[in-house]
């Protein structure tokens, strides 16, 4: 029995090895700017086989984690490759645009990336602790006189910037409690009462809802206060749109796929076509729905326009952003 198992395992390992061997020359590396396990990691890994499928032929799309410098390392790596379409990266917008906007050193410029498609987007929600929170509505927040404490990741991260811009527009001077490693860590910080409120992507918030019934959502741990949208609220709270702050609706994140600038037109078009088909694939959409990711496909031209639009939007807040980084 044991020997059969050993041979089985060995055979499986060899089979995996052999199946990968011949096609290696045609690999496309799908870079992941962050470590394994996070949001970018899962989206990339879900997309890789779909891009393979729509590219056809004998091409492997191999996901590769390259964390470092808050995502800068992978983006720098991408733009320093030969422009042959063999490397892809999901950019974190606006996070990846920050160095360009505030003039921090970076090899890449989000305005010159060869954009292929947008996979997903997310919008934010302001939440407070359902047990320990002292605010019941957003109005309580705006009329609160004391300092509002906001658990957050390090200064300069996407969530930090969005919160800074939002609070700035309401004239609230936030007191950030920094140093949490990820959004789920600072969410936990709010639940246990480290701070008063924080910002969360709507998709990540869903896991804190304990009841599925639409009108009677139970918020045992976290309760929403304000939704950043110009549309109707999904959670039955006030929205920035309804409060007349239409310009804030941009705040959020876009997951955009790009390749090395200067990629030959034919290669780029073929690639963009396949990537767009992959992000529009019903399988991807169904998966997104299941795990609470807002799949929002855009084609190459739309993605490029979106990137420029976001760049222009966040550039307006240069002073807020620079201040938050230099704190």
């Amino acid at each position: 029995m044991l020997s059969r198992l050993v041979t089985g395992t060995a055979a499986a390992a060899l089979a995996v090895g052999a199946s990968l061997l011949p096609a290696q020359a045609k690999n496309i590396t799908f870079l992941i700017a962050y470590g394994p396990g996070g949001g970018f990691d899962t989206v990339t890994r879900k997309l890789a086989p779909l891009i393979e499928k729509h590219l056809g032929g004998n091409v492997n799309v191999v996901p590769k984690n390259m964390p470092g410098g808050r995502g800068k390392k992978a983006a720098n790596y991408l733009v320093n490759r030969k422009p042959n379409g063999r490397n892809l990266l999901i950019f974190n917008m606006p996070g990846h645009a920050m160095p360009n906007i505030i003039g921090e050193k970076a090899d890449y410029d989000v305005r010159t990336i060869d954009w292929l498609a947008r996979a997903a987007e997310f919008k934010y929600l302001i939440v407070t602790s359902a047990r320990a929170g002292k605010f019941k509505t957003w109005k309580d927040v705006t009329s609160y006189k004391d300092k509002i404490k906001i658990p957050m990741t390090a200064p300069g991260t996407t969530g930090y910037l969005a919160t800074a811009i939002l609070m700035d527009s309401y004239g609230i001077k936030p007191n950030f409690i920094t140093g949490y490693k990820s959004s789920s860590k600072y969410a936990l910080g709010v639940i246990r009462g480290d701070g008063d409120l924080t910002i969360l992507a709507k998709g990540s918030f869903r896991k804190y809802i304990t009841s599925k019934k639409k009108n009677r959502q139970a918020f045992k741990d976290l309760r929403p206060l304000l939704e950043i949208t110009n549309g109707p609220s999904q959670f039955g709270v006030e929205t920035t749109g309804s409060l007349g702050k239409k310009e804030l609706a941009v705040l959020g994140g876009d997951r955009m796929i790009g390749t090395t600038p200067g990629t030959p037109k034919a290669v780029k078009e073929k690639l963009a076509n396949a990537v767009f088909k992959a992000v529009s694939d019903p399988e991807f959409a169904a998966w997104g729905k299941k795990v609470g990711r807002d799949i929002a496909p855009l084609n190459a031209a739309q993605t490029k326009a979106k990137a420029l639009e976001l760049f222009a939007y966040y550039s307006k807040f240069k002073s807020v952003l620079a201040a938050s980084v230099k704190k």
């Binding site: 390992a13 995996v16 090895g17 990968l20 061997l21 191999v62 030969k82």
Partner: protein, 169 residues
């Protein structure tokens, strides 16, 4: 350096290197804002008296003896006895360091795959006085292990050397 017995002098140099590192660390700390340097400075300034105390335990003085007994319940002489008595000449050590530095330099220039068999072969042949056949055999086995596990099964692209990075694909 009469204060410190000869057999303890290498340790003294080691401590001196640590002390200089800490002084440099403290100096760099002052280039940061108060929030960023408070904790590091506390650590840095704690280090200095501790290092000086340790320095004293190396000396042949009464106070050195007392400190040693206080912290370790042993006199410096007893610690000398406990110490590893292997003969270590600086020359011998430098040669080994050089081998390791050359290995890393080789990896940096030419990548893991070419350097692995070369290093294993050279070490076994020239340091271990093994036969050419035995050395070649081990070199090949190590290379095969690394290649199969990392490149094939795990699909890592092992570093191919800075020369490949510049002139290669």
């Amino acid at each position: 350096m009469k204060l410190i017995p000869e057999h303890r002098q290498p340790t003294a140099w080691f401590l001196l290197a640590i002390l200089l590192t800490i002084v440099g660390f403290i100096a760099v700390s002052y280039t940061y804002k108060p929030n960023d340097r408070a904790f590091p400075l506390m650590v840095g300034y704690t280090a200095i008296p501790i290092i000086l105390l340790d320095f004293l335990t190396l000396t042949k003085t009464k106070i050195g003896q007392k400190i040693s007994v206080f912290f370790s319940a042993k006199t410096p002489e007893q610690i000398d006895q406990d110490a590893d008595t292997t003969e270590r000449s600086l020359g011998k050590e430098m040669v080994v360091f050089l081998w390791m530095i050359l290995l890393v330099l080789g990896i940096y220039l030419f990548g893991f795959l070419p350097i692995t068999p070369v290093f294993v072969f050279c070490w076994m042949k020239y340091r271990g006085a093994y036969s050419v056949r035995m050395s070649l055999y081990s070199a090949f086995c190590t290379l095969a292990f690394i290649y199969i596990l990392f490149e094939i099964v795990l699909q890592y692209e092992l570093y191919a050397g800075i020369l490949m990075e510049i002139y290669g694909s």
